[in-house]
């Protein structure tokens, strides 16, 4: 306390600086947009919160219940989709446990492209700032919390603009919007109910609520094994600027006799999956695409193979990725 009483005194600067580092996750980053971005990213990892959020992408809307704590440096989260057949995802850092009570199966996987709100940023702010102009917007009150908008405007037309509303005290993102190039909102995540602070949940609360309901769970470990990087033999010769390869894996998919090669690219905010597989004898003969919200799908026959691109990017980006698939030399 004496440190605070004598603040400004040159002798205490190192002590104040040390205090600043210790409270980095909470400290208000002032007017530095990248510091806001960094704190938002950190808050999604360390904050304790429980609530409900709504995700709207194109014409699809889904509601999720979420509980998130950080225990001894490990991120623990339970995510329960409120729509459709019962299922639940428990996440420990990048490990995913998906519970399907009706099938008595728990599916293990490792997070690569899976999306969790408000954990949106997958790269260091500096890497994101290479592709997006990061600025601070206005303040707004959301769910009783003062928030500050962080504006991410793409430096080219290869990605979508984003707006993140970061809670003033903790940095947690309470609302995220994605816009197309006509300034229309095409995707939105927003909390509709939120309890925030260390008292709202404990590590013991973050476990599957279905776990006790089923006596004998079947465990499907295959997805987790498949999430390990392998050499698929394919490469993206000319990736769109800012997009870098995250990993390449082989995934088992329904109705295929062989696993499908999947290469994942990301610009730190948006991710793209490229799937390469043998084309069926009566398979695709022409390029095709669909867009819904931020999700773009582009398929292209390539000799005896077919390339499918799916990601949260504009069609031009998906096309550039899809058309630059090549055999690794």
């Amino acid at each position: 306390m004496r440190v605070l009483e004598r603040r400004g005194g040159p002798r205490w600067i190192p002590a104040v600086a040390a205090l600043g580092v210790a409270c980095a996750a909470q400290a208000n980053p002032g007017s530095d947009p990248l510091a806001w971005l960094k704190r938002a990213s950190e808050a999604a990892r360390v904050a304790t919160y429980a609530g409900t959020f709504v995700h709207t992408n194109g014409d699809r809307t889904s509601t999720f219940r979420v509980t998130h704590v950080n225990s001894g440096g490990d991120e623990l989260e339970r995510l329960e989709p409120m729509d459709g057949p019962a299922n639940e995802i428990v996440r420990r850092n990048d490990e995913m446990f998906c519970y399907f009570p009706d099938a008595k199966t728990v599916r293990l996987d490792r997070r690569i492209t899976a999306r969790f709100f408000p954990s949106i940023l997958r790269s260091a702010p500096e890497a994101i700032a290479a592709s997006y102009e990061v600025k601070l917007g206005k303040s707004e009150r959301i769910l009783g919390h003062e928030c500050r908008w962080i504006r991410l405007d793409p430096k080219d037309r290869l990605r979508f603009a984003q707006r993140l509303c970061s809670e003033e005290a903790t940095g947690l993102v309470l609302r995220a919007k994605t816009f197309n190039d006509q300034r229309q909102v095409i995707e939105q995540y927003t909390f509709t109910e939120l309890r925030l602070g260390p008292q709202v949940a404990k590590a013991a609360d973050v476990r599957s609520s279905f776990e006790a309901r089923v006596k004998q769970w079947r465990t499907d470990k295959q997805p987790r094994e498949e999430a390990r990087s392998v050499d698929t033999g394919w490469t993206i010769a000319n990736p769109p600027s800012g997009f870098q390869k995250v990993t390449e894996i082989k995934r088992t998919m329904p109705g295929r006799s062989e696993p499908v090669s999947q290469i994942v690219l990301s610009d730190g905010l948006a991710s793209v999956s490229v799937f390469v597989e043998p084309n069926a004898p009566q398979g695709r003969t022409a390029e095709a695409s669909t867009e819904d919200g931020t999700t773009t799908f582009f398929v292209r026959p390539m000799g005896e193979h077919v390339v499918t691109v799916l990601g949260e990017v504009p069609l031009a980006t998906a096309q550039q990725v899809g058309r630059s698939v090549a055999r690794r030399p």
């Binding site: 919007k177 997805p223 999956s273 003969t285 390029e287 669909t290 867009e291």
Partner: protein, 174 residues
């Protein structure tokens, strides 16, 4: 009627109901206003300026200033609205059939690239609706293919993936 217009915008009406709602919507000034107001509300909720109302009022203001061309302009307004409604109906129908639209794979002779925009029913702005709703040239096919890739990308397979094979057909046919 208000409920019908709201349901139309949300894509909740079936073919006949949608046609009835559009009919009613286009035939009455009051219902047209409801349509506009609902769009403005939708836009406001999505954080956009309510273009629809602003544009309509500015058109009306312009009409007042130019009485000599009132008649043709009015017709143009109706025509534009008709096209919006028609396009909305088309997108209702399209979205109603499948939320993800694939193109017919494997059909020989289908050589030109096809682009489909899955437009949320009634959510489209008049500008984009009147200029580009490419619904006609594509035969919508429920493409479970797309869903497979989406599940792989999201790392979130539907519970169907773990249903016994015998039950899967029933589940996917919903």
């Amino acid at each position: 009627m208000k409920q019908d217009i709201s349901s139309l915008m949300d894509g909740e009406l079936g073919g006949d109901e949608a046609a009835r709602a559009i009919q009613a919507c286009c035939s009455s000034e009051k219902h047209k206003d409801t349509w506009n107001v609902y769009h403005a509300i939708g836009e406001a909720i999505r954080g956009q300026a309510p273009h629809t109302l602003a544009r309509r009022e500015s058109i009306l203001a312009a009409l007042d200033k130019e009485p000599t061309v009132l008649s043709p302009r009015t017709r143009m307004l109706e025509t534009t609205f008709g096209r919006i409604a028609l396009a909305a109906a088309a997108s209702v129908a399209t979205v109603g059939v499948v939320s993800w639209i694939g193109t017919q794979g494997g059909a020989p002779g289908v050589a030109s690239p096809t682009v489909v925009k899955a437009t949320p029913a009634g959510m489209a702005q008049p500008v984009s609706v009147t200029t580009a709703v490419p619904v006609a040239p594509v035969v919508p096919v429920a493409d479970t293919h797309v869903q497979d890739y989406l599940n792989a990308h999201r790392q979130m397979p539907g519970p169907d993936a773990y249903r016994p094979v015998a039950n899967r057909g029933a589940a996917t046919a919903r």
